[in-house]
């Protein structure tokens, strides 16, 4: 399978190309491109995070404090788009770039040049998006969902936002194609699909989701563009269109997008917990089927985002039951993570702490998700801070925590140096405490009726907002520790990492040196079932 590809790689350079331009700008190496993705993602975490700090600063107390209301409204969509498309998704693609070829015994990604293009589109897309702040009329300020007619009533900068989203979509689609082509065609001989690490499985399924829904988002925003500039009436009632149609198309993309941001996190946690519990994952096949099941269900639940627009009762019932069904495969996953830890020889290094926090806090986000799946209850929760609390538990303590866990898990492998456990744990405890101070009070605010996306609010909401803002500032500041830990590990750490960094680690990545050679497997590895990570062979 991958044998001949690997032999061909063997004819070429084993060392990284010399010179900054050739090494990084022209790179076709999966590890270098993975590193680029991760650096870009971290940068966007801080840019998107800075927008969040601005939002929390304004909401620190009632009344207008720091900014004009329109600027507040500009911050919310750019915080969301910056974190979703700029930080979370590129981080997962970066992790996939680094680890998928190594985990399946491939020499590189299947389409290395396209890989380079996928990455380098992104910085341009985000420059375009952020440049809208400096345009006449200001940046689009109608939320990341860009609902018409509101979004079409702003300035012409919407065209730049739409083009930026097109570019992000193209980048994601090419990344997804590359991952599918790599996993289906480049696995080492003997690496059957059901022997693959769960991170690879989660990404294979996520890539199909991306492929199916990113073009739909592109279609939706293209129709916004033609409605605004070319006189069409897709979403204009006056011309025979319907703004609710936009919501259907957007959420047909939007709900699978939620799973695009969490399924790879499931894969990461399924790698980390068995390592530090020193047990194979409980129910490997059930984990694979649960991911596939969640992916399928993600296509038939989109209208739970629009229960209050006036859907027929039959539709509301269908989408309510379909949404509640998702709790079943998700419950299987949480059960299997807990059961993997049950009676394991657990140790609590930094990646494991983040992984355990993920399991607990993501489950809290999952439970509030089930609450809002109930149609009558959702009429109360809709457009309140309860929703904001829910999706931040899922995306911050879910997706972002899993990404940070994975970085701590593989950082010694990538750099060849150990990070500081003390500072890693300090980062963890600060983050785990302050993230709850930040988001938990937002449940109470939402239940009390505080609407989302407002720069000012009733004095009745003052106390919880102040607590939430303090949590936000300290959570944001805690992330500076992370930067320090990474910089120390890459350039200053004196402690070298062995090939097998963690005692309980299994999988092909631990058979390579730390850091791995520039080309991972110049000859295909022999698949030894006893070292396979968490595949079915161990059961």
């Amino acid at each position: 399978m991958a044998h001949d590809a690997a032999l061909m790689h063997d004819d070429h350079h084993h060392e990284a190309p010399e010179g900054f331009f050739h090494r990084w700008v022209m790179s076709t190496n999966h590890k270098d491109i993975g590193t680029l993705y991760l650096i870009f993602s971290l940068t966007m975490f801080f840019i998107g995070g800075a927008f969040a700090m601005g939002i929390r600063a304004e909401l620190f107390k009632p009344g207008m404090q720091l900014m004009q209301p329109y600027f507040f409204n500009e911050l919310t969509p750019h915080h969301a788009l910056g974190i979703i498309f700029g930080a979370i998704m590129p981080a997962f693609v970066g992790l996939a770039n680094w680890m998928v070829p190594i985990m399946i015994g491939a020499p590189d990604m299947a389409l290395p040049r396209m890989n380079n293009l996928s990455f380098w589109i992104l910085p341009f897309a985000f420059c375009l998006l952020l440049s809208t702040f400096f345009m006449p009329g200001g940046a689009p300020a109608a939320g990341w969902t860009m609902y018409p007619p509101l979004v079409l009533q702003g300035g012409d900068a919407i065209a730049f936002m739409i083009f930026a989203i097109h570019l992000m979509g193209i980048s994601s689609i090419m990344g997804a194609i590359n991952i599918i082509a790599t996993i289906l065609n480049m696995r080492a001989p003997g690496m059957d699909l059901l022997k693959m690490p769960l991170f690879c499985w989660s990404w294979l399924i996520t890539a199909f989701l991306l492929l199916a829904v990113m073009p739909v988002l592109a279609g939706a925003v293209t129709m916004l563009l033609t409605d605004k500039f070319f006189g069409t009436s897709f979403f204009n009632v006056g011309g025979g269109g319907d703004p609710v149609l936009y919501q259907h198309v957007f959420w047909f993309f939007g709900h699978p997008e939620v799973y695009i941001m969490i399924l790879p996190a499931f894969g990461l946690i399924s790698e980390i917990i068995p390592t530090f519990a020193r047990k194979p994952i409980f129910g490997y096949k059930a984990m694979v089927y649960a991911i596939a099941c969640i992916a399928f269900l993600s296509f038939i639940v989109w209208s739970h985002h629009m229960f209050t627009v006036g859907l027929p009762i039959g539709s509301e019932l269908f989408f309510m039951y379909a949404t509640m069904l998702i709790a079943v495969p998700t419950g299987v996953k949480v059960f299997n993570w807990v059961t993997t830890m049950w009676r394991g020889s657990m140790t609590f290094e930094t990646p494991m702490l983040w992984a355990i926090a993920f399991v607990i806090l993501f489950t809290i986000g999952g439970f509030s998700g089930v609450m809002m799946a109930l149609v009558p209850a959702d009429f109360q929760y809709n457009q309140t801070y309860f929703i904001v609390a829910h999706f931040h538990y899922v995306l911050v303590t879910g997706a972002a925590f899993a990404i940070i866990a994975a970085v701590y898990y593989w950082l010694p492998k990538w750099t060849g140096n150990m990070y500081s456990e003390f500072w890693g744990k300090l980062h963890f405890w600060n983050s785990a405490i302050w993230v709850n101070v930040l988001f938990f009070p937002q449940h109470f605010l939402g239940l009390a009726g505080m609407p989302r996306r407002i720069p000012d609010y009733n004095v009745a909401f003052a106390d919880f907002n102040m607590i939430s803002s303090i949590g936000g500032f300290l959570f944001g500041a805690s992330q500076l520790i992370f930067v320090g830990v990474v910089i120390h590990c890459v350039w200053f750490s004196k402690k070298r990492a062995p090939a097998k960094v963690w005692e309980g680690a299994r999988g092909l990545e631990w058979t390579l040196s730390s850091p791995p050679p520039h080309h991972s497997f110049s000859t295909p590895p022999v698949i030894d079932d006893s070292v396979l990570a968490h595949g079915d062979v161990l059961h």
Partner: protein
Amino acid sequence: MATDSKNISNSQRTARRTAWVLGIIAVAMFVLSIVQQLALVHHL
């Protein structure tokens, strides 16, 4: 280069074929999302 068009491996040839098929599916989804809206708006 690993992707030298004159001397590519079987696995890479299959990978390219896979990529083309997936790319066509992506373009089809884009077109379909707009055509479906056109049909709905014009009650086709």
